[in-house]
Subunit: 192 residues, 2 copies
DNA sequence: TGTACGATTGGCCATATGGACAACCCGCAA
DNA sequence: TTGCGGGTTGTCCATATGGCCAATCGTACA
């Protein structure tokens, strides 16, 4: 019984890795099996179909990948701190993390697959909520301009950070420092 | 000679449409040929490979899709007008436009294909430049807070708009109105 | 009229893929 | 010992795909 679960998990891990490395559509059941070091027939036994396997692998991998930013949003002392940290991570080459490729692949697939969209959308929603709490705290402290809806600011920041990832993937030479300066300046409300 | 070019173009158009409808990896040379109403052997004659055909189709389709927002950025009277128009388009269901699906597919593929990344990245760069000009004009008029780098604001706005598309695709129920209000408020610098 | 050449057409092939399955292994309870 | 059942393994198969190619067409030009 325990062995069965281990094989199943190995297949899930291999599938998630391959999605990031080769892209969703290039993943084959045979490649997954080879990566997991199990015979290819094992796939049919443990999963109803290739789609099922990829979906399940992508969902858990995405949850794992989003855990770090979520924790950061929940623990950051301020929005500025969160943004600075994230921008620094981008600049330091965080994009080379396979998790980024995996997220992009999953997002694209989720745009076509309702069963995938639901859980991913829920994770995103949770992230925005944590961010909105942080924004609200900052606004009360006066560290962030008031008079704008906190949930709107949170949605905008989340979209900005993900959009920046997209742009950086398409144009690795893009300098994010001016954007970082602009966003931090606007949020602080310092200029007049 | 003219006929040859027409067949070639029909294949390109069919390929672009199929990328948007079924997703990049689900496109087959036979489906393209059927869509273009030419025999499937025509693909081999007019293009060196399926990859070549898809790349060329995606590049021209992307350029076509980006022409509208680019013109909008160049002609808009102000950043606020541009943003309001774009947000309204999102809310009115602009996401159902096949061009959006096509752009997402192309972006994902470009992340893995240097030959695709280069032209797409150049188009993005051009868009950011037009946006930066608009921002600069607004700052000089005082319609937009100064003291922040215009190119940074432009990069942030571009990322924000694309990131919002991504989030809307993953979560169609997301209400963009608070985000729109927040962004417009922050850029105007009205609150204090 | 003939002919050269680009364009067209449909058949063909090697290959890869997802999935099904029968045989087998092995620990455990009767 | 004998069954039993979950797990494993390798093989087999129908299908689809990308690409190649020989035969054919049609037309502009000599």
């Amino acid at each position: 019984m325990e062995q069965g679960a281990a094989t199943r998990q190995a297949l899930l891990d291999a599938a998630a890795a391959l999605i990031a490395e080769t892209g969703w559509c290039a993943v084959t059941t045979r490649a997954i099996a080879a990566r997991a070091e199990v015979p290819h027939g094992a796939v049919s036994y443990h999963f109803a179909s290739k789609d099922d396997l990829l979906r399940e692998a992508a969902i858990s991998a995405t949850r794992r990948a989003l855990a770090a930013p979520l924790a950061l949003a929940a623990q950051a002392g301020s929005v500025a701190e969160l943004l600075s940290g994230t921008f620094a991570w981008y600049a330091a080459g965080g994009l080379t993390d396979p998790a980024v490729a995996q997220l992009l692949e999953t997002a694209r697939e989720a745009a076509r697959d309702q069963a995938l969209r639901a859980p991913i959308g829920a994770d995103l929603h949770e992230y925005r909520k944590a961010l909105a709490d942080l924004v609200r705290r900052d606004q009360e402290r006066g560290a962030l301009v008031g008079g704008v809806p906190a949930d709107g600011v949170a949605a905008a920041i989340a979209a900005l950070l993900d959009g920046l990832i997209l742009h950086l993937v398409l144009d690795p030479d893009l300098d994010t420092r001016p954007a970082a300066a602009a966003v931090l300046g606007l949020l602080a409300g310092e200029p007049r």
